[in-house]
């Protein structure tokens, strides 16, 4: 079930997209303790990272949590592991969107360098990938 080849591909992609490594997390759950919208979540924020560590991608696809996350960055500001969970959440959303619908436009089509890509707001990219057909 876990650590399959597709898991590694997914994690590599996630790391590339977000610049964050879920394995840096030691599950102190401070993110969940401080999250202002945790009440509406089915998986707690730290559990999302744990699921990423274990490669439980199917469960993440079903979870409401990444869509509830308001990207307020409280978790990122307090994380003792210097991990930006808000970015990871965005990465999960991006991955789920791709799983569901695929990309109509791929990042390569933009002909941008990785440095330029990094500076663009990920949300803007995701929506444009979905919106514009080739």
């Amino acid at each position: 079930m876990i650590f399959s080849e597709s898991y590694h591909r997914f994690i590599d992609e996630l790391k590339k997209n977000t610049g964050q490594d879920p394995n840096q997390c030691y599950q102190c759950a401070k993110c969940s303790a401080g999250c202002p919208v945790v009440a509406a979540m089915d998986l707690l924020p730290h559990q999302v990272i744990r699921y990423l560590q274990l490669g439980l991608l199917g469960e993440l696809e079903e979870s409401r949590t990444p869509w509830i996350c308001a990207s307020c960055f409280t978790c990122a500001a307090r994380c003792p592991r210097d991990l930006d969970l808000a970015r990871l959440m965005e990465g999960v959303r991006l991955a789920v969107l791709r799983l569901r619908e695929g990309n109509r436009l791929s990042p390569a089509d933009l002909e941008l360098t990785p440095e330029q890509l990094e500076k663009l707001p990920a949300q803007a990219l995701v929506s444009s990938f979905r919106k514009y057909a080739k």
Binding site: Y26, Q27, C28, S32, A33, L44, P80
Partner: protein, 661 residues
């Protein structure tokens, strides 16, 4: 060209597994001056050493090159072997074929030519080796211990019991350190003062211990066996020969400031002893806050003192003394938590650091032993402990685990339950680390016997709600967010080095790690030595540790110190710098960069156009020189040479390395 012998070691498979030994030996035979080349499985073994000794005699060798592990491991072994065969021990060169070659390569096709090059370089250098002689230096039979906490106390007692004189320097007015601030100790729940104060008294009474409290080390020079140290003994403003320790002065003193000993929770007088069992029991006047020193009026203590011991004119005393060894035991600080705004530390009186909370239990503490909320003076009904505040935090704190917090938090929860059985105790932990004799059992007792509730998770925010504090956290095991209305919140602050640790490290030329904890010379095999010979470390200045560990380390450091003190003479470094006065221009840049104060100006006479002129040149004191080579780098005229590492030798090595394969 001297007759050179080359010996290549296999080091089992450590070297032979990656380096083709036979090729190296064959190549070595062709190097200039080499009259013998051989190999052996373990050159450091007795058989291996015998091979070297026998070959020196048989082949009439004048220089020896070994291709082995790092010289830090076995240079001493082979120097001794060479000396036993009648050669000067400095006619040996080590080519590091293990750490610098076989261990960092996988492919023999790459490792073997490199090994050959390293041996060729060592042979080139060896051909220029000159015999060197080390000086034999005296050892001052006196030890300096810096820091009067439990580690410093133990070390001082151990050295003093061995018959050597010890000066124990403590910055504060009393010895005792952090342990004196504790109420109880884990896992036995011994009263800290009950086991510490007998040792403090023993220090005060020991005929071989000279106690210097309220004193600081200002300068250190010299070297192992002969450290010259300047200590500033600050003016107490009290004549210790007259003071009887009656305490009337601090009873009558009208000025109060926050007490450092009570972690700023309570107040102390401006003339004070930090705590009732202080050693020595002689007050000090805190001149920064004293009304007389600030405004020129008051002198009430002077008027009240029945022994007429108050002396406003007293001056700092400078003590300059020579020591054979120095032992550093300066301890730790509790990390400043002002960066953790989400916990409300410093904003709410009921949010305390663990060391502050500890003081609440103490009969002579700020609440006279009553565990109460500082906001309203009432006993708490619910206390939340938060662990890992500042520890294991790579964003705002320290990367490391402070090691003692899991245990002291459980201890404080037990003390709380003992004192207020009805009060609830919650502990937020990330991981519970209870490695130690009786530690796991202790933590389980807290949970099972005392009903302390352990929550695996963290706290996101602490904020006032009515009279209480609302703690918003999460239990990660059940995946449930929690809200706890608490009366007190206790933060397990990280242990950090003393603020002035970097300065002390510079004074003594010892190394520190990235956090400013003092570095041991080897993490496993030389745990109490520093890289500077004759300086030892013990206790929490090296890394966070608990009392048993600090005491054990102090004993170990004391034993090492005594080993040095018991020697009649110490051999000095033989590879020392030497100035050629004919070339020296007397600019004395070398004097400025020398970390050991080994270079001084001297006069030389020379005849110029028939006239006898005197001019200034640099001179190296070989007893002080440690052979670091800074002076040779700095010298503009190239007139300083490091013997054993001369420019000619280094360039010969470079030439050999640069030869085409």
């Amino acid at each position: 060209m001297p007759r050179i012998g080359v010996f290549i070691c296999w080091c089992g498979t450590n070297i032979a597994g990656t380096v083709e030994i036979e090729q190296v030996v064959n190549a070595a035979r062709s190097f200039p001056g080499v009259v013998y080349a051989g190999d052996y499985r373990y050159l450091c073994s007795e058989v291996g050493q015998k091979l070297i000794k026998d070959t020196i005699k048989k082949e009439n060798l004048e220089r020896v090159v070994v291709g082995t592990c790092s010289p830090r491991m076995h240079e001493v072994t082979f120097r001794k072997a060479v000396a036993e065969a009648g050669l000067n021990p400095y006619l040996l060169e080590v080519a590091n074929l293990r750490e610098h070659c076989s261990w960092v390569h996988k492919d023999p096709a790459e490792a073997t030519p490199k090994a050959i090059a390293l041996v060729r370089a060592a042979v080139s250098k060896a051909s220029l080796d000159e015999p060197l002689t080390a000086l034999m230096l005296d050892v001052e039979k006196r030890a300096l211990v810096i820091g009067g906490g439990i580690a410093g106390i133990q070390a001082a007692l151990d050295i003093a019991d061995s018959g050597y004189t010890v000066d124990l320097v403590e910055k504060e007015p009393s010895i005792g350190g952090r342990m004196a601030q504790l109420e109880k100790t884990f896992p036995t729940l011994d009263c800290a003062a009950c086991i510490l104060t007998p040792k403090m008294v023993e220090v005060a009474q020991h005929p071989n211990i000279n106690l210097l409290t309220y004193s600081e080390v200002e300068a250190v020079s010299g070297f192992v066996g002969q450290f010259d140290v300047r200590i500033r003994s600050r003016a107490r403003s009290i004549d210790p020969s007259k003071c009887t320790g009656c305490g009337i002065c601090y009873e009558k003193c009208p000025a109060k400031v926050p007490s450092e000993f009570d972690m700023e929770l309570g107040k102390r007088k401006v003339i004070y002893v930090p705590f009732p069992q202080a050693v020595p029991n002689i007050p000090v006047i805190d001149r920064e806050n004293c009304l007389y020193f600030k405004r020129g009026r008051c002198r009430i203590c002077e008027k009240e003192c029945p022994a007429e011991a108050i002396d406003f004119e007293q001056q700092d005393e400078i003590i300059e003394r020579r020591y054979g060894v120095i032992l550093v035991a300066t301890g730790f600080d509790s990390m400043d938590l002002t960066g953790y705004g989400e916990y409300g530390y410093g904003q709410h009186p009921d949010v305390l650091s663990a060391l502050q909370f500890e003081r609440l239990f103490n009969a002579s503490g700020p609440t006279a032993g009553q565990v109460v909320r500082l906001s309203n003076g009432r006993p708490p009904q619910r206390v939340v402990f938060i662990q890992c505040v500042g520890s294991r935090d790579i964003a705002r704190g320290q990367n490391y685990c402070s090691k003692i917090c899991c245990m002291f938090t459980s201890k404080q929860a037990i003390l709380l339950k003992e004192k207020l059985p009805e009060t609830e105790a919650y502990i937020f932990y990330i991981d519970l680390r209870t490695a130690g004799k009786g530690y796991e059992e202790f933590q389980r007792r807290a949970a099972e016997e005392y009903g302390v509730i352990y929550l695996r998770g963290s706290v996101g925010k602490v904020f006032p709600e009515g009279e209480r504090l609302l703690v918003r956290g999460v239990d990660s095991l059940s995946g449930r967010p929690l809200e706890i209305e608490a009366d007190l919140v206790v933060l397990a602050a990280a242990s950090v080095p003393r603020r002035d640790a970097p300065e002390l490290a510079r004074l003594m030329s010892i190394n520190s790690d990235r956090y400013n904890f003092f570095d041991e010379a080897h993490p496993k095999l030389r745990p109490v030595e520093t890289h500077t010979a004759g300086i030892f470390i013990a206790g929490a200045c090296q890394a966070p540790k608990d009392i048993p560990e600090a005491v054990a380390q102090a004993g170990a450091a004391a034993a090492k110190a005594v080993t040095l003190l018991s020697k009649e003479k110490l051999q000095s470094e033989a590879c020392v710098a030497k100035v050629d006065p004919a070339r020296c221009s007397g600019c004395l840049h070398c004097e400025a960069v020398c970390p050991y104060g080994a270079i001084a100006a001297t006069e030389t006479e020379e005849r110029v156009r028939g006239e006898l002129l005197t001019r200034t040149v640099a001179e190296v004191n070989p007893a002080l020189c440690q052979g670091c080579g800074c002076c040779t780098m700095t010298c503009r005229s190239g007139s300083v040479t490091l013997q054993g590492y001369t420019d000619e030798q280094m360039l010969a090595e470079v030439d050999a390395l640069c030869l085409q394969r």
